[in-house]
């Protein structure tokens, strides 16, 4: 139980993927200009993270480890992510045009979102030891994938709210756009450091 809470709080606040692990910065800066696309992007990321977390865990556990080819991890994982993104895109297109319109253009972008590959690599580092899955490894992996995605969406939403206001603010000319976004992210990260004090 403790471990579950630790994973949830950890991936939401203490080790937030964007602000502390610096994963997924490109989409973070790219789609945080307005709130609406930020919501769509966040949902798409959660979706892809959970499904590729699931598939890569199975592939790593039942194919790579028994065959002793875990040095192929990077190649396999990125292929799994790329194909599952493509597959999800097709499924959504066929089943629900409404969701497709909301997520459509963001799905292909997610392939090169390092947060997705990051969470799968972290899962295979943390929840396997000496070639064996630790107790409850599968559940932890899915949980971490889901809450890392939620943490990503959470920070993306906060940032897009701030940036919508920032458009109207009077910033120095050379800081307009990206530089001021970095500085805002830095202050957010500083604020989130307060959560490090949580002892779990």
């Amino acid at each position: 139980m403790d471990k579950i809470v630790a994973i949830i709080i950890g991936s939401l606040f203490i080790n937030n993927f964007i602000l502390f692990k610096f994963l997924g910065l490109c989409p973070f800066l790219g789609v945080s200009k307005q709130t609406k696309p930020a919501v769509s992007m966040g949902l798409a990321v959660i979706f892809v993270m959970v499904s590729s977390g699931l598939i890569t865990w199975l592939v790593y556990r039942f194919i790579l480890l028994p065959l002793h080819i875990d040095y192929m991890r990077t190649v396999t994982f990125i292929l799994v992510i790329a194909t599952s993104v493509q597959f999800i895109e097709m499924v959504i297109l066929k089943t629900s045009p409404v969701i497709y319109r909301a997520l459509g253009i963001y799905l292909p972008l997610i392939t090169t979102n390092c947060a997705v590959l990051g969470v799968t690599v972290l899962n295979s580092n943390e929840f396997f030891s000496a070639g064996k899955p630790v107790n409850g490894s599968f559940g932890y992996a899915i949980l971490q994938a889901f809450f890392a995605g939620v943490g990503f969406m959470f920070v993306l939403l906060l940032m897009s709210g701030i940036r919508e206001r920032l458009e109207l603010a009077d910033t120095p000319e050379s800081l307009e756009g990206l530089p001021i976004a970095f500085i805002v992210a830095s202050i957010m990260s500083l604020a989130f450091m307060g959560f490090v004090g949580l002892k779990i």
């Binding site: 910065l25 490109c26 990077t74 790329a82 392939t111 590959l117 690599v121 000319e173 800081l175 990206l178």
Partner: protein, 197 residues
């Protein structure tokens, strides 16, 4: 020859991946905590960029347009796996301190970006020089960020203590410091550019 030199040098300054194109930020921020890490990451990325650009420019006419992105990713991932294994074998300490950012070179946007924007349209030699130039620009940018963060944040340079005169600004070596330094650097470079024109 002059054209090749041009392809090389544009990556270093005019189209610097970090400061002007603003791609490949995740590793740039995460590993810039010390100059050693930054140099290791920079060299790894330069190697992958040069090799993947070379291979992709050689096979660019055989790859069907529709599946080019997966093809590029497989080429890149192969070179990243090579880097991973070499680092594990010969520089285990560096491998540990770079952590998951070694496998994550695969999704460094700048590598796929150059494959798509340059190597898939240009012949072999210019592509190699473009890759090496972009890699050099990336390395230099990383060195600059890590120099500022390490000297001011922990009072050290490449692991050696350089000054006992001042109290290090601890926040610069933590996560918020990385974002702050990069934001101010990009702002500063834009300011210098606007002064010159």
């Amino acid at each position: 020859m002059k054209k090749l030199w041009f392809e090389f040098i544009k990556g270093v300054w005019r189209e610097n991946p970090i400061f002007f194109i603003v791609l490949g930020l995740c590793p740039a921020l995460a590993v810039s905590i010390s100059v050693n890490n930054a140099l290791g990451m920079g060299l790894a990325v330069t190697f992958v960029l040069g090799c993947s650009n070379a291979i992709i420019s050689m096979v660019r006419n055989f790859i069907p347009d529709k599946i080019r992105i997966p093809c590029f990713i497989v080429v890149i991932a192969t070179f990243v796996s090579i880097v991973e294994m070499v680092l594990k074998a010969y520089a285990p300490a560096l491998d540990r301190s770079l952590g998951i950012f070694v496998p994550l070179i695969v999704v460094n946007c700048i590598i796929l970006g150059r494959a798509e924007a340059f190597a898939s349209k240009n012949p072999f030699l210019p592509s190699v020089f473009d890759g090496l130039g972009m890699g050099a620009g990336f390395t230099l940018a990383l060195l600059l960020i890590s120099f500022i963060r390490e000297t001011l944040g922990s009072g050290k340079l490449a692991g050696y203590s350089i000054s006992h005169q001042f109290e290090p600004v601890l926040v610069l070596s933590l996560a918020p410091g990385a974002l702050l330094v990069l934001g101010l650097l990009i702002g500063g470079i834009r300011w210098i550019k606007s002064l010159r024109s």
